[in-house]
Assembly symmetry: C3
Homo-oligomer: 148 residues x 3
């Protein structure tokens, strides 16, 4: 459900660090009750002259953008969430003295599928089952109906 894109300088994160970063992100959502396998993180390594900030080539910069799908936050939750997100990201960019920027978009939940299944309602019993099994299993009403 959340799809994180992390643009980082080429070679900035070794595979083991990427995994730790992805695990820390996954834990953020798991603690909020989401199945772990909902969390996708794509790392894109940027060569020099791929990223420009303010018109200047930026080679010590991490740019992150995220799509949220499974949950739509209430405005009252924004700060709470951004605080958590910043803490996780800071732990991985500050030690390397990277500058960074991040933004989140929210996209419509009904236009989302995992393995061709319709993910269950947030917080529902079926979602809890998916979380416990950490995989998408068929359920009644879980397929998209062919229209007539």
């Amino acid at each position: 459900m959340p799809l994180w894109h992390i643009y980082a300088p080429k070679g900035a994160y070794a595979p083991a660090e990427k995994e730790r970063f992805a695990v820390a992100i996954t834990d953020l959502y798991a603690k909020a009750g989401l199945p772990k396998f909902y969390v996708s993180v794509v790392f894109q390594e940027l060569e020099p002259n791929m990223l420009y900030i303010g018109g200047k080539s930026a080679d010590a910069f991490v740019r992150i953008w995220i799509d949220h799908i499974a949950r739509r936050m209430e405005p009252a939750q924004y700060d709470w969430w951004m605080h958590k997100v910043c803490k996780v990201v800071n732990a991985f960019v500050e030690p390397k003295s990277f500058a960074w920027e991040l933004h989140i978009d929210e996209t419509p939940m009904p236009l989302w599928t995992i393995q061709g299944l319709r993910p269950p309602a947030g917080g529902s019993e079926i979602e809890q089952k998916w979380a416990a099994k950490n995989s998408a299993t068929p359920y009644e009403g879980g397929t998209f109906a062919k229209s007539t």
Copy 2:
């Protein structure tokens, strides 16, 4: 108008397969009346340790995300559309035993241009002309006015 991003393992799809996949996607929209050249598909091949699902490196996974621009669906159409999309995608991921996930966002039509032209209203006569010619041709009202 729709921009599809397909993240697939490096080498998973040969050029001829990519073309068949892109053609199948294009046909989905063409059958709904859209000009074929509206449909863009970008394939991104992922090396190992670029994609993490639930905190684990995933190398047999296809992650697709899509922007819809030219049409905003009614909620009543969601299932109909997702059913069609899943059928097309399944045909290309199941034979390879890939797991997959896909989501669609909808973006504002007035903030869209092809070749500097404003694409015509959905279903309009001019759109039908664009579809028939399969290219964007100038028309009255088709440029963005310079403000004074």
Copy 3:
């Protein structure tokens, strides 16, 4: 705040051209009052068989997609803005006879951070200070509060 993604054929733009392109984009926003460092541009070079338009491999095509964060335009401003954007893009794609397409999405400002700081309100005194210094500096209320 705006994050531009520019997909162009591999080798189409030399580093110096990319920089001029990024500077022209940055100036668009700077003239509208935004701090220059708000503007991120990512160039992605596409190999053959990465981009398909209407089901056909497209190797003389520039596809641009943009997220706007710091400002949400009024519909009355759309044309004015698209006119400006097209002018800048045309200057870089027409000389190379590339076809092109571009679209913009708008994402929620409260779900955005630079260096862990909450960017100040658009047009505020603090934003003007950030613009003058061309960097994000801490200010009162500029951090995301930990919830209790």
